[in-house]
Amino acid sequence: MLTIIKSGLTTQWTDSGRKGRQLSGYSQSGAIDWFSFQLANALCGNALHSPALEVMAGNIEFSVSIACAVAITGAHTDISINKQNIKNGKVFLLKKNDHVKLGPATKGLFTYIAFSAAFELPVFANSVCAVKREKTGGMQGDGKPIIDGEEFVLINAAQIDDKATRYFGKGGAQTSFTPLIKAFIASQFYTQKKLPFSFCYQQAAFSKVDKQRFIAHEFEITQYIDKMGVRLAGPPIHCELTNLISQPMANGAIQIPGSGLPIIMRNDRQTIGGYPVIGTVNSQGLALLAQATSSQKITFVATDFDTANIWRQLIDLQLKQVLNTTKLRLYA
């Protein structure tokens, strides 16, 4: 049994998102910071897309009724196990009825908590995700987040090797990440972020001057930031198209409404949109943006899809390496 004693602002189960339902208008959903989500699973030795908790802005307390491994990644918070402080980005061994407490997020926005155990969770469109706006998914099927005191029934827990405990010191298991992963984690918490994106969609309907302005100037993240999208403030970008036929929205699409202020579409976005799109933030940029908070500054860096894909493949491989190392260490 997993008991969420205090659920904070918004805590939800998440995974890599829904599949096959966007045709009927259901959003893709899934972990906003896909990187931290997969890293948490890798550190626990889980399949990379296993359900994990997504905590917005921290402030959560929970306890588990079994011994299992837990990994906490993403947004920085004070973390304590039975009042003993521990560090983010590591895996720990929980004893039966250990009490884990996360303080408010001090850096970043989304924290991910993965367990080496599976819980009974309802599934909507091949996913455990809940979308509040749609009133779909979640424990009651109404898209609502986890409430204080909610309990989750254990299905099974991975058997941890007795010898594995020696890897767990007071500060959690020793993990050595590759330079690429280390550098990427650090860059997620810079207050000025560079988001790689590619010009596409209606990019030809923007003048050269406007495109240059788009990549040369800094944008500020406004207070309108949620899982659907992020609204930016900065120099208005002009588009000559006004009556565009609504088109499907890819994850990361940068819409430019009449006001000229960009909106970056995220996992819980609408499937179709009618504002011109200047380009798409690629998956690296989306994971960077996931840990951005309002009033932080971002700039867009133009790249192409093939380059973006090479980075993604490298990261995917290295996450798999983390997973394989954990599996060898933790499990018999």
């Binding site: 599949k19 045709l23 590619s198 969609y201 036929i245 499937t271 899809f305 993604r312």
Partner: protein, 269 residues
């Protein structure tokens, strides 16, 4: 890969690969591509321009051809008026292989579509006609209306706007943006206006709105940039099944506030 120039008739694209004279494939993210059917022929200026209806039919035909082969890498897809988004699993397949698949699968787009005999059309293909009752009079704090802005922009009276909005049997061009949100077209040319420069953060459920050549009903509360002209008590199915199919038609009928309140009460029961 090559890029087409503006003067070849493709105004708004990048990284595009032609499928036939009207359609092309464009890459829109690391994991997705869009197939777009254009109005004008790319190769010959004398070829007829395609209506939105014809383009929508071509998009649906593309989807049928792709689905017939049920490719394993296809995770998700979205249909809109003149475009089709395909989301693939980048860990499973590379972009160039997806492209090669599409070029061979959609090769028959170049051949003229075989005429179907009308007798053979099933009921599903013909589609159902939904009547949606709309109260165009509401304007209060919880149910804002843009009717006066529409009047100003179009130089029409609200009565004209209401009758123009009802004058057409609309076709469902796409379902998306949110569950059960059906894009209906095409709106009378007299009512076409650009979206709000500052989209609303919350459009109430049941709002009937217009933008560009389209109209729609918001099935539940949502951010939105369309101009609200009325409200309906029409209830969309609230479970996972979608009330409207892509082949369905919609007609609007004006009702007064008294009737709207009555229908709303009935719907709440």
């Amino acid at each position: 890969m090559f890029e087409l120039e503006k003067d070849q008739g493709y105004q708004y694209m990048h990284n595009a690969v032609p499928l036939d004279e009207y359609s092309h494939v464009e890459r829109v993210s690391e994991v997705s591509i869009i197939i777009r059917v254009n109005e004008k022929s790319r190769t010959c200026a004398k070829r007829p321009a395609l209506s939105l209806q014809a383009r929508n039919a071509r998009v649906k035909r593309c989807l049928a051809l792709i689905k017939a082969k049920s490719p394993k890498w296809l995770i998700d897809h979205v249909v809109s008026y003149d475009s089709l988004l395909l989301v693939y699993d980048a860990q499973d397949i590379r972009y160039d292989i997806v492209l090669r698949f599409l070029l061979s699968t959609l090769a028959e787009l170049k051949e003229p579509e075989k005429k179907k005999s009308h007798a053979k059309k099933t009921e599903k293909e013909i589609g159902h006609v939904h009547q949606i009752d709309v109260c165009y009079e509401l304007n209060n704090k919880s149910q804002p209306s843009d009717m006066s802005a529409v009047e100003e922009y179009t130089n029409l009276t609200s009565r004209d706007i209401v009758s123009l909005h009802q004058s057409i049997q609309y076709q469902v061009f796409a379902i998306g943006f949110m569950p059960n949100f059906a894009y209906l077209g095409e709106l009378s040319p007299l009512l076409r206006m650009p979206r709000l420069a500052h989209p609303r953060l919350a459009v109430p459920a049941g709002a009937v709105a217009i933008a560009g050549q389209q109209t729609a009903v918001y099935p539940s509360i949502s951010p939105g940039g369309w101009h609200i002209i009325g409200y309906t008590a029409f209830s969309f199915s609230d479970d996972a099944t979608v009330a409207m199919g892509p082949e369905d038609k919609v007609i609007f009928k004006a009702i007064d506030q008294h009737e709207y309140d009555r229908q709303l009460k009935q719907a709440e029961k």
